[in-house]
């Protein structure tokens, strides 16, 4: 089975069922048990949840998650009424330079729970839905490694990466001899820049919830432009 970046993927539903049996943590087991969609489910029938983390730095081995924003959506609607946001006490120190990026200060985090305390409610929100992120290496790696550090057990689930989609589209548009001659370069695939190509408004970046909403809107637009509501989920998830 090959997806659009030509990389073999797992049978996600089977994988999650397997994890459900083997994992030790009760919360994770419950999450895995809900499972996910069948490979061939069309996009129009899928409940997505857009997810964004703010972190203390870029290295998932050293740094930790300090804020989680998520919003459920489908191809037609982003549901603000079900949006969630958590602040999390980091395991490492909050550095000055990261404060400059996300603007989350010590006083914001005062009294915030640690990751394990929000794990249950967080997994409950994303269970059974298809997670959508912009740049999966942050969200997937941070969640997996931060958890390993705490309970010696990670978590992996399928995600749709709007940045990967945008990268594939951009490189496809720059393929061919003529474009090589014109030295056409792929456009920027950062969240804000990607959104501009679909005439989506620019938001103040680096708020986990705003970025999650921005990601949800971007996927709605990408599907309308480049895919079809009937496209099966297996073509997009990783």
């Amino acid at each position: 089975m090959h997806n659009f970046i030509n990389k073999e993927i797992l049978n996600w539903n089977a994988y999650l069922q397997l994890q459900a049996r083997h994992c030790k943590d009760k919360r994770l087991a419950e999450f895995y048990q809900v499972g996910t969609y069948n490979d061939d489910t069309p996009l129009k029938d899928i409940e997505f949840v857009a997810l964004d983390f703010e972190t203390t730095g870029l290295d998932p081995k050293q740094n930790s998650i300090i804020s989680i924003g998520l919003v459920p959506f489908n191809l037609n609607r982003v549901l603000c009424s079900k949006a969630k946001k958590w602040y999390i006490t980091p395991q490492d120190k909050l550095e000055e330079e990261s404060i400059i990026i996300h603007g989350i200060t010590h006083s914001d985090l005062k009294g915030a729970p640690d990751l394990l305390r929000v794990l249950g409610p967080f997994l409950e929100q994303i269970a059974g839905k298809v997670v959508v992120v912009h740049y999966r290496n942050i969200e997937r790696a941070f969640l997996d490694l931060n958890l390993r550090a705490l309970i010696d057990e990670g978590v992996i689930f399928p995600v749709i990466d709007t940045m990967q989609i945008e990268a594939a589209i951009q490189s496809k548009q720059c393929e061919g001899f003529l474009n090589w001659l014109k030295r056409k370069k792929p456009g920027s695939i950062r969240l804000g820049n990607s959104r501009l190509r679909y005439n989506l408004p620019s938001y103040q970046p680096h708020d986990a919830l705003t970025d999650a909403i921005a990601t949800a809107e971007l996927l709605q637009a990408q599907v309308l432009y480049h895919y079809d509501p009937e496209t099966p989920i297996k073509d997009l998830w990783l």
Binding site: A83, W86, L200, Q204, A221
Partner: protein, 622 residues
Amino acid sequence: MEVELLEIQDFISQYPPFDELPEDALIEVVKSIEISYQRANTNIVEFKDEINELYMLRSGVVELYRRNGNLYNRLDQGGLFGQMGLLTNNKVRFPAKATKDTLLYCIPGHIFYDLCERFEYFADYVESEDSARLKQAVTNKSEGSDLTTSKVTTLLTREPLILASDTSIQRVAQIMAEEGQSAALINDLKNEQEKHFVGLITEHDLCAKVVASGLSVDNPVSDVMSTDLISLDHNAYISEAMLLMLRNNVHHLPILKKERPIGLIEVSDIVRYESQNSLLFVSSIFQQQSPEDLAQLSNQLKDCFIRMVNEDANSHMVGRAMSEIGRSFKQRLLELAEEKFGPPPIPYCFLALGSMARDEQLLVTDQDNGLILDNNYDPEIHGKYFEELSHFVCDGLDACGYTYCTGDIMATNPEYRKTQMQWEACFGEWIDDPNPKALLNCNIFFDLNGVYGRTKWAEQLNRFILSRTKNNKRFLACLARNALNRKPPLGFFKDFVMENDGRHNNSINLKRRGTAPLADLIRVHALAIGSQSQNSFQRLDDIIEAGILPKSKGADLHHAMELISIVRLRHQALDVESDIEPDNNIEPENMSDLERRYLKDAFLVLSNAQNFLKFRYTANTF
């Protein structure tokens, strides 16, 4: 855990009507929003779709269309649509299409209704703002001279009277009398410089709270002033002022600029302003120099009509204004005719018959008219003059949208150019020797009104008619029988009209089945009691006073007439707005649930009143 959706909150709080909402209400709105992305050239909602949301544009461009496909409005960032549908019958009124990639905020209907309920500014905005736009779209070259497009400041003629709160009541009354003001604002002593005010005193307060209760006029005015003050910003539209005053049942409204009062408007200011508008139209009729110019001007008649309907004028007001305008067209055409054919060789009176005479004209109307000629009329000598004059006038009226009468009841028909004596003889014959068949087509002659020339002759003729009809059992029985010919339907369902015999119809003619039989019925009673009035509402007042109807049935008839008329004129206005030729037909699926229910009640009243008519006038006669 309180979720902050700051990006969305910041956005919507910049645009009216959300800009005035308190933060907690704003947060509630934001939390309810669903976001939807629409690619360019996507239809968002279609005409008559069920609608349960208000839409706000976060980015992009959306165009709204009329039923016939013409562009109605174009919206961009911050624009709203869907409020019309939400406020009427939850059906999409104007289909919407994204013409550029668009991001929409969808706000659920229950939140919208809740905001309308709780925040006056919000309700006013979504109700009047759109009618203001509508107005612009309808009148095209609107000069900004009506209630929904003019600001309240246009009503202000002078500074408000501001007096200190310790002034004695008597002194206040003296100053109000000297200044010719019916109200004054009262300011707080501490804030004299600031021009802040803490109360309002009106002539009514002086009457009710001072004179009536025997309070000493030496007391300070602060004892009797009203302190529950309602005011309006100077940027508001006149229509908003009117709504605010009606809703709160106040007659004076302080107008503020940066929280300082810059004037005080009264209900009468608005009434005066409005009548100036219809007067303006009438006066421009008299400035036209040819039938062609008049025909040109008559195109604006629809705008005038729509303005009155949208401003919630009652049907009597609309009918009277439209009839006055119709009479003015006739009068000007007659003046032009006399310029062309020379002064009349003998005196005459030009008659309006039917709805115009009753002051009940709406938009779709044909012309019914006639001539009373001097008794010295000689067809050999004068015939040609009046024939030419009649053709000139009737042709001119037709060109102005008052189509020729299909029954040929027009001055162009020699039958209806009679001398005073001939008319009296004619009416005498109808009344004294009645037969239902002959009377069938002459109903409208019993509603007559002199428009031009010797208008006194019309009044004389009316008196003659009444002297013969009053208590004339045989005649009234004939007339009553004819008034029973048109029966109202049994009821209305979602998409059909249920007839008495169980048949279904797709539409109903509200004039033929509603207002006309009501007018017929009221006419019988009016002629029976010798009422001099022509207008159905005024006739009803006379009938109620004469005490011939069972208790409260008169008021019921009044309401039924008003309701059917209002539905009829609202639907005509809707047709005009949608560029459809207006008519008197209405399809039940285009009515709101409320309209269907009320109409059913109104028709029941008509049906009962017909039974009573039958009992009262036709029993034992045939």
